[in-house]
């Protein structure tokens, strides 16, 4: 054996290239083969984001923290919004962390295909890798922010209960929501650049219909199920439940949220697969 045996990234087997139409099957196996690329993209995004910045990773803390301060002053102090018995800063920061993860992931993934135009028109790899990596790249910021949140809980003397164990699940739901919507928008953005202009407005609007600055108990009882149509409402209430132990609203919100995300994600995947082949021609 003169050459070292390689583990080929692309299966050595026959690849058939032909026009596609209608239903396109998923190749999860291929996506798995390219898992290292997802890792590389995430790692690149994280590395690059804080290069040539003065305070570097502190940005990850500063953004949600300052937002929390503003919210606390305006909504907590001036507007005197009810906080369900927890300090208002904690109430809003618990929600701000998953929200910022979501908003960032959504922004990044929606524009990801267009920003990777150079790659898409030059090299083949499963295109799904791009929005996936864009969604995952926000996790580090979330992790750092979470440490701050724990410190704040300690400061206010709140001891998170066993519910903490459910946090990974809610985190997963956040990422799934971002990916589900991101897939749709990313694929649409390749063809219709309107998406890019709509995004800032969309995230802003979405922030208002998500109980981030307020508690969902502020919403009248009979409308609460409607709130659940927004998956992020389920996520935010889930986080509050897991960390602060209260929020009896979660039970009614979460099942609807999960269903909606599952539907969006499946539809997004199907749509993405269908138009994936045309990206290089259109982008």
């Amino acid at each position: 054996m003169s050459r070292p045996l390689l583990q080929p990234a692309i299966e050595s087997a026959k690849i058939v290239i032909e026009p596609q139409g209608g239903w396109v099957p998923f190749h999860f196996h291929e996506l798995w083969e390219y898992r290292d690329l997802v890792y590389f993209f995430v790692w690149r995004d994280i590395k690059v984001r804080y290069k040539q910045t003065i305070i570097g990773g502190a940005w990850a803390v500063l953004q949600p923290f300052l937002t929390m301060v503003v919210f606390s002053i305006i909504f907590g102090y001036l507007a005197q919004l009810p906080a369900d018995g927890v300090p208002y800063p904690i109430l809003t920061f618990t929600a701000l962390l998953p929200w910022q993860l979501f908003a960032h992931a959504l922004m990044q993934s929606s524009s990801s295909l267009v920003t990777h135009r150079q790659l898409i028109t030059k090299i083949y790899f499963p295109r799904l890798v791009i929005p996936m990596a864009a969604v995952l790249a926000g996790l580090l910021d979330f992790g750092i922010g979470f440490m701050v949140l724990l410190a704040m809980c300690f400061y206010y003397g709140i001891v998170p209960g066993v519910g903490m164990l459910a946090i990974p699940l809610f985190l997963l739901l956040t990422l799934a929501t971002a990916l589900a919507v991101g897939l749709w928008l990313a694929a649409l953005n390749v063809q219709y650049r309107d998406i890019q202009s709509t995004l800032p407005f969309l995230t802003q609007f979405w922030l208002f219909i998500t109980p981030v600055a307020y508690s969902s108990s502020l919403v009248p009882e009979r409308w609460r199920a409607l709130l659940g149509l927004n998956p992020m409402a389920g996520v935010v209430e889930g986080f509050r439940w897991a960390l602060l132990g209260h929020s009896d609203n979660m039970g009614s919100l979460l099942p609807i949220s999960v269903l909606i995300v599952a539907g969006l994600l499946l539809g997004g995947l199907i749509y993405f697969r269908r138009v994936e082949a045309t990206f290089a021609d259109v982008v």
Partner: protein, 428 residues
């Protein structure tokens, strides 16, 4: 059957041209579909059918049409054709960047494309980080990159700068690093698209060496280039594409001849010049270069003839004609001067033909053109000075040199020299 690496059957690729191709806005699509529906309803109501198809003009353009061929394992295949012939589209289809509109292709084995070296490099990341990133994009696993890391750095010769962000690299270093990553991918099928057009000579030589090495390993190579010398050195078989169609598939020599012929047909100016009508003074009416291969292409060392038609409208005693051969960079390399000025003397207006034969024309391979001077010696007035006319090319076809390839731009003039070696008595 098993030794076929790539098989392409009746592949076609259609693009839509026109402004609707890019950046469609949502509103446009919505309003169009509503308008279409409304039109359909209206035309249905008034009982007119079939007017709709004519109403929405869609311009399609076939970048590739009905292309079929097979490539055996271990074969090196060249693809040539002028710009827009479909070469890149073909490579894009084979590398799965875009799908064909028609037909079917089968690729057996790991395929890598050097479509554009350095794609996916991030300027802020260091050389080391970019090796990993680029390797990943090209389909390598982390473990695989780690194993080849030293080899890649050695090939790229960037050891000292490996932890410097690549934005500070010189373009040469950048290129070397990018090529090094791609070259160490060890694919079974390698698509190379014009990557050798960049970099200095030493680097180009290195790349060619690497490609040769890959080829010797029995791997399949697709080589697209406008550098016909590289094509003829690397490949034995060549595809010639023209306007999306495969017009020749066979030996490289034949393909190159076909291609040059096609090129000449396209640009009529090659090797000849025709003056515009209505010049009132004495002038060069036409010029032709009789080259040894096809029109406008000359083989080094063959006889060449420059022919000029001088239209003398106002006969003078002392007409003088001379011309230079200049390189494509505008440098004058040889001067041909008619000493006998009486030769073009005439009493009445007419066109005089002058020919200049050079039995063994030994300009080195490259692209040349000529510059003419028509003047009156008395008073030293230049009547006419034309530059850059009659472009022609000199090739080294049929002049093989062992072990060393002819490099473009290595020199301007190549003499056919005789060498003699004499052994002197041994020094005591």
């Amino acid at each position: 059957m098993d030794d076929i690496a790539i098989s392409v059957q009746h592949v076609g690729k259609r693009y839509r041209i026109g402004e609707r191709q890019r950046y469609k806005t949502l509103r446009e699509v919505l309003s169009r579909s509503i308008a279409t529906r409304a039109c359909r309803t209206v035309s249905h109501l008034i009982g007119r059918q079939g007017s709709l198809a004519a109403q929405v003009p869609t311009n399609y353009f076939w970048a590739l049409q009905d292309v079929s061929f097979e490539v055996k394992r271990g074969e090196i295949l060249g693809i040539i054709g002028s710009n827009g012939a479909g070469k890149s589209t073909l490579l894009k289809i084979l590398s799965r960047i875009t799908l064909p509109t028609k037909g079917r292709a089968e690729v057996r084995g790991r395929l890598a494309s050097l479509l554009e070296v350095g794609t996916g490099f991030h300027p802020e990341l260091t050389g080391r980080e970019n090796i990993y990133l680029n390797g990943g994009i090209l389909g390598m696993k982390r473990a695989e990159i780690e194993r080849k890391f030293d080899e890649i750095i050695n090939f790229a010769e960037v050891e000292t700068f490996i932890d410097t962000p690549v934005k500070h690299y010189s373009s040469g270093m950048y290129l070397r690093l990018a090529f090094a990553v791609a070259a160490h991918l060890e694919p079974e099928i390698l698509l190379v698209d014009e990557v050798l057009a960049v970099g200095d000579l030493a680097f180009q030589r290195k790349c060619m060496g690497k490609i040769n090495e890959v080829a010797r390993d029995g791997r399949t190579i697709f080589f697209v280039s406008h550098n016909l010398n590289a094509i003829s050195q690397l490949t034995d078989r060549c595809l010639l594409l023209s306007q999306g169609r495969l017009i020749f598939d066979g030996s490289t020599n034949q393909a190159l001849q076909e291609y040059r012929g096609q090129d000449v047909a396209k640009s009529a100016r090659l090797g000849s010049y025709q003056a515009p009508a209505g010049i009132p003074h004495n002038h060069l009416a036409w010029a032709t270069i009789r080259t040894s291969l096809c029109r406008g292409v000359h083989r080094w060392g063959d006889q060449i003839t420059f022919e000029f038609g001088l239209r003398i409208l106002h006969p003078r005693d002392t007409m003088c004609f001379s011309f230079y051969v200049t390189t494509d960079l505008g440098k004058q390399v040889c001067h041909f001067w008619m000493f006998d000025s009486d030769a073009i003397r005439t009493r009445e207006p007419k066109t005089i033909t002058v020919r200049c034969h050079i039995p063994k024309f030994r300009l080195y391979m490259g692209c040349y053109s000529i510059t003419t001077w028509l003047s009156e010696r008395r008073g030293d007035t230049d009547v006419e000075n034309l530059t850059g006319i009659c472009p022609f090319e000199v090739t080294m076809d049929g002049t093989a040199r062992d072990r060393y390839d002819w490099k473009k731009g290595a020199c301007v003039y190549l003499e056919d020299a005789q060498w003699e070696v004499a052994c002197e008595a041994e020094v005591a």
